[in-house]
């Protein structure tokens, strides 16, 4: 049981000037599952490896349980890590793999066997204890990697894209199992993924990184409803938020062509105080709808998912063509080539030219 803290932690890889992770500040309370998410090269894995001790911390510090571990070697940090490719020891059986860390700690054989058994029971690995990793399926290997971590009863779990080598269906299933397991064990967990759906569904809180800089850390819902900048707005949510450049500012509110867009009171208030100019508007697909009046456009693609469908509508905007993604009923009659009208019912996010959100 432990809390984790990053304090202005930076990592600059030798031979480069640009930090892979730049002054990261994060407070992770005991028992939380925090997800680090970002596109590739965002520094999320580096941040995790800094906590593991596999990467040097060039500036700042890392604390586990308010103990400074910045310079502590990985073997003395009492952490367990699950790797993307699982990194199982190929020459050892499942049992030996899971017991390896305990063996290094000098735990006696009977206790070792007992704890491995216990973990194997939790993970349904009992029939495979005597197999070598190469004789296991991908899902089983993933569970062995998990087992190797939980056998140790560590202070912190570190998971580096543990599900990305599984097929889509198994990934969704394992995702829930993993979140459930973490909640039951109550071990502080830092989880890295590039998949924002995984981040939103699993994380108690989600930290979004871009180019080594932390953009926003918050509960998934807040991240979705109040993204602090353009990057978070575009990254979180699937399909992505519609982002449109438009003239705004001043007391006139925001318009998209002929369509007046609804704003939160606070956003409207702050926008009214600003200079008129070019702003980026963000509208979630579910806040747009096909209606009898609104902005006119032509349907280019209809993505039917069964429970809902996403209609791509090309509308005219500032002399060019603009593609809006609109959520519609599952059983929509709309087809490619239809002429439709799009209206907006939800609050619109507005971002200044530097990408910052307007209105907290």
């Amino acid at each position: 049981m432990a809390e984790v803290r990053y304090e202005n932690a930076s990592r600059i890889y030798p031979g480069t000037d640009i930090p892979a992770v730049e002054s990261l500040n994060l407070d992770i309370p005991d028992g939380e599952l925090l997800v680090l998410v970002g596109p590739s090269g965002s520094g999320k894995s580096t941040a995790l490896r800094m906590l593991a001790g596999l990467e040097f911390v060039d500036e700042g510090s890392v604390y586990i349980n308010s103990e400074d571990v910045t310079l502590t070697p990985p073997q003395d940090r009492d952490i367990a890590m699950v790797f993307q490719n699982y990194a199982l020891y190929p020459n050892m059986t499942v049992q030996a793999n899971m017991g390896f860390a305990l063996k290094q700690q000098g735990v006696a054989k009977p206790e070792r066997a007992e704890r491995v058994q216990e973990a194997a029971r939790i993970l349904d690995l009992e029939p495979y204890l005597d197999r070598k990793p190469k004789n296991l399926s991908g899902g089983q290997r993933q569970r062995v990697a998990m087992g190797r971590a939980i056998v140790r009863r560590p202070q912190v779990f570190l998971m580096d894209e543990p599900l990305s080598n599984l097929d889509a269906k198994l990934r969704v299933q394992t995702r829930t199992e993993l979140a459930d397991l973490q909640a039951r064990l109550g071990v502080t967990t830092v989880y890295v993924t590039h998949d924002q759906v995984e981040a939103m569904t699993m994380g108690h809180r989600v930290a979004v990184l871009k180019d080594g800089i932390l953009q926003q850390v918050d509960r998934p819902r807040t991240l979705y409803s109040r993204p602090v900048n353009l990057f978070v707005a575009g990254f979180i949510g699937s399909p992505a938020m519609n982002l449109v450049e438009a003239e705004a500012g001043g007391p006139d509110g925001v318009r998209l062509g002929t369509l007046a867009l609804p704003l939160d009171e606070q956003v409207a208030h702050e926008l009214a105080a600003r200079e008129p100019g070019t702003y980026t508007l963000g509208v979630r697909p579910e806040h747009l709808q096909l209606a009898s009046e609104g902005i006119a456009g032509e349907v280019t693609v209809v993505e039917e998912l069964g429970s809902e469908s996403y209609v791509h509508v090309a509308v005219e905007h500032q002399g060019g063509s603009l593609l809006l993604v609109v959520r519609a009923e599952g059983e929509t009659m709309t087809q490619r080539g239809d002429n439709v009208q799009v209206s907006c019912r939800g609050p619109v996010h507005v971002f200044a030219s530097n990408g910052e959100r307007i209105g907290a």
């Binding site: 073997q75 993307q84 990194a87 020459n91 290094q104 570190l158």
Partner: protein, 304 residues
């Protein structure tokens, strides 16, 4: 129905033609190999069943397996076998040990790594006869050798190394030449290791020592086996080093050299020598079969 069998015939014919189209370019090389290796081998088989002396020329007599029976009684042959075994085993194991140590050092990053690696490989690039001569005349030699110069300047008495330890003199040259080979094989194994497995072991609390003996070494096993296999196959046939360094004599005549002595090297007993060489071939085949199994295991292990 007849149409189906027709189709099956057609497919078979196409497959056969495709097979030949692939094999055809190999045929000249195959024929050449048969002419220069298999034909002499079959002739040797025949010679080994005869008594055949060339100097002075005598008619060839068929004597059955007498040559092979005599082998067992021949004290010199038994000694040659033991010398071969000692020479091969000690040279292979010592070069493997040294090669592994060097590979571990080379696996780390340091300034001038590429340069050092090239220097370490150089002995392997030298021709065996040249290596033998260099060691004999410039290292071991009692008047001009470096070793004796060293002994002399330290105030010790000079030693005629080659006369005193003929087997070990040859073995040290073999080790010097074969260490780079072993090093390269082990280095390939080390660099082929999955880095994240090593990281996992570190996070799991393994000390450097535990990591080497419990993770790295077991993973290197197929590479070590490969080194032993290839080394043994080459070193069991060593001839040039023996010829150049000691020119035979007790404790340094291995089986290939013995065969040479018995045939064109002065014995002129071609029937007997053929029988010896057949024994060497059989021994090599045994080792190679054993080894090929190891090799196929290695390749199998690389599949995920």
């Amino acid at each position: 129905m007849s149409q189906q069998t027709d189709r099956a015939e057609q497919v078979k014919r196409l497959q056969r033609r495709e097979g030949w189209r692939r094999r055809l370019p190999l045929v000249p090389a195959l024929l050449f190999t048969i002419v220069v290796t298999q034909v002499p081998f079959i002739l040797s088989l025949w010679y080994s069943l005869t008594e055949w002396k060339i100097v002075p020329p005598e008619p060839r007599n068929f004597i059955g397996f007498d040559n092979y029976v005599d082998l067992l009684d021949n004290r010199f042959f038994r000694e040659a076998v033991w010398t071969s075994v000692w020479m091969t085993v000690s040279a292979v194991l010592l070069s493997l040990l040294l090669g592994t140590l060097l590979a571990i050092l080379l696996d780390r990053k340091f300034f001038g790594q590429g340069f050092v690696r090239t220097l370490l490989i150089t002995p392997f690039l030298i021709m065996p006869v040249v290596a033998g001569l260099v060691w004999k005349t410039q290292v071991f030699n009692s008047s001009f050798g470096v070793l004796n110069w060293l002994l002399d300047s330290l105030g010790f008495e000079r030693i005629e190394f080659v006369t005193r330890w003929p087997l070990w003199s040859i073995v040290s040259v073999l080790v010097w030449q074969w260490t780079p080979f072993m090093m390269l094989i082990v280095l390939a194994g080390l660099q082929g290791q999955d880095q994240s497995v090593l990281e996992a072991a570190r996070v799991d609390g393994a000390s450097s020592r535990a990591m080497f003996f419990q993770i790295t070494l077991p993973q290197l096993r197929p590479y070590l086996e490969l080194g032993i296999l290839l080394g043994s196959i080459y070193l069991i046939q060593v001839f040039d080093y023996v010829d150049v360094i000691t020119g035979g004599g007790p404790d340094s005549t291995n089986v290939p050299y013995f065969v040479f002595q018995r045939s064109i090297g002065g014995g002129w007993q071609f029937g007997q020598a053929s029988a010896y060489s057949i024994v060497v071939v059989i021994a090599s085949i045994v080792i190679a079969t054993f080894g090929l199994r190891v090799l196929s295991n290695l390749l199998e292990g690389e599949k995920p």
